[in-house]
């Protein structure tokens, strides 16, 4: 079995004077402190990638810099699904006996090190170099295409999507480290400028600096170990142009496999960490993983189902939409927040204690998926 035994992060936003490595080191140090371990007690290292510091061997660059001598190390590149994939693999590594404690870490200084224009340009390159990029799409454009088809098949309005932007901003208001904390309304979202129709500025996550880390152990140690009870992946396509159906990505099986492995029914889930790069992203993922009927995610958000007082609070740190998007770390932050809520370490934003969390990450354009189920035992 495997447990998350500690987490750490940095604030998210504009962090002057940092590098990807320095941010990763801060989050890693915080996670070791939280778990109560020294560097020498970590024997595995898994990391993501950095836009500002592309390197063939980022994991060992970080190991040398931070002062680790792991017996297992490498990086994973899976876009927004990387944080979930790193955590899933860390769980398998300790369960298989390859390592005792694996440090999972990611960080990037996209905003100060790269800037918005450069980040937008770099990210657009995940498209097909021959058959998409020549048409000048951006990541919002890929998701705009998805949103157009979703609307055509499932209905819903701009105001429905906007509910998630408003909710994430409200949640971020409770987190001192969040990038965007000023409250917004549905009207603010609707009045923001179009980026790629139907997506407007406030339907999109910001470009942020930040880092996150967690420690996965083969023992239920530390103050509040959280069991990695179930995990599954799905990789239905890479490019949006070649996805089978933009109104049904077929993710139900992935989510159900993770829940089945954990032995939990969907009704037992009382906390959600769902990837929310755009409002449409989180709406689709909630529906396909079983937490809202098709076309109804926005309406449920409006009713308060995903709020702090609802049955399944969603992204209580503010998600990518408002806590911020610092690359791979952005997706890892959902897990950091889930851990804190379940460990009773969420400070002023602590919910009543939660027992079962479902976390889902999405990389590319709904291309790569990781579902995780975590249990407080």
């Amino acid at each position: 079995m495997s447990w998350i035994v500690g987490v750490g992060d940095t604030p998210c936003g504009r962090l002057e004077g940092e590098s990807a490595l320095s941010l990763m080191a801060k989050a890693a140090a915080a996670s070791l402190e939280n778990a109560g371990f020294e560097r020498g007690e970590i024997d595995g290292l898994l990391c993501g990638y950095s836009g500002t510091m592309p390197h063939l061997m980022l994991s060992t660059v970080f190991a040398e810099y931070f002062g680790l001598k792991p017996r297992y190390a490498h990086a994973i590149q899976l876009g927004g699904a990387t944080g979930g994939a790193l955590t899933m693999l860390a769980g398998h590594l300790v369960a298989a006996g390859a390592c005792e404690r694996v440090l999972v870490v990611a960080g990037d200084n996209r905003l100060t090190g790269q800037g918005r224009d450069e980040a937008v340009k770099m990210l657009a390159q995940v498209g097909h170099h021959q058959y998409e990029v020549p048409f000048g799409p951006t990541i919002p454009a890929y998701y705009g295409l998805v949103a157009s088809r979703y609307r055509h098949v499932h209905g819903g309005s701009d105001a429905d999507f906007a509910e998630f932007a408003v909710l994430m901003r409200r949640h971020a208001g409770h987190h001192p480290g969040a990038h965007l904390r000023d409250p917004i309304t549905v009207d603010d979202v609707l009045a923001s400028r179009v980026i790629a129709s139907p997506l407007k500025l406030l339907d999109c996550c910001p470009v942020s600096d930040g880092a996150a880390a967690l420690v996965v152990s083969n023992k239920a140690e530390g103050r509040a170990p959280l069991r990695l009870a179930g995990s599954a992946q799905a990789h239905p396509h890479q490019h949006v142009s070649f996805a089978r159906d933009l109104a049904d990505f077929g993710l139900q099986g992935c989510a159900e496999a993770a829940r089945r492995q954990a032995g939990v029914g969907i009704k037992e889930v009382d906390l959600l960490g769902i990837y929310d790069s755009f409002t449409i992203t989180v709406a689709i993922l909630l529906e396909e993983t079983g937490f809202a009927p098709r076309g109804q995610a926005g309406a449920l958000a409006r009713e308060g189902v995903f709020g702090r007082d609802g049955p399944t609070p969603l992204n209580t740190h503010g998600g990518l939409l408002s806590f911020g998007h610092s690359g791979v770390a952005g997706g890892l932050c959902h897990l950091v927040e889930v851990f804190r809520q379940m460990a009773g370490e969420a400070g002023a934003r602590q919910l009543t204690r939660r027992k079962t969390a479902f976390v889902h990450g999405d990389g590319g354009v709904l291309s790569s998926h990781v579902s995780l189920v975590l249990r407080a035992e």
Partner: protein
């Protein structure tokens, strides 16, 4: 790859090229040196250049200075009548489900597929 060059040379010559497998008959886009289903040898065919809008977005925030000069511009996914889907540029006032016909627009020294409403 040679397949990509052959596709884009087709655009320069005003035709939209796609592939059919000589073994299983599967329609394939983008082109590859093999059939993705059976591994057989694909042959080239030329599309009748008509299809249907599957999805669309109007891009206001461009990824580069080159595209910023064009913004806002419409990007479509089009289902061609032969049974393959592709990204393209599109004329204004299109909606999902609209019938479209292919033309080309030259951008950055390249002839890009550009679909207009088929009346």
């Amino acid at each position: 790859m040679n397949e990509d060059r052959h596709f884009w040379e087709g655009c320069d010559e005003g035709e939209l090229r796609y592939q059919l497998c000589t073994a299983c008959g599967d329609v394939q886009f983008p082109p590859r040196p093999f059939c993705r289903h059976c591994g057989g040898r694909p042959r080239w065919a030329v599309s009748g250049a008509r299809g249907c809008v599957y999805a669309l977005t109007s891009v206001a925030r461009a990824p580069s200075a080159e595209f910023a000069a064009l913004a806002p511009y419409d990007i479509l996914l089009v289902d061609l009548d032969e049974g393959f889907r592709m990204m393209a540029h599109g004329g204004a006032a299109l909606g999902i489900g609209d019938r479209v016909r292919l033309t080309f627009r030259v951008l950055g020294g390249r002839s890009l597929p550009y679909f207009l409403k088929d009346h």
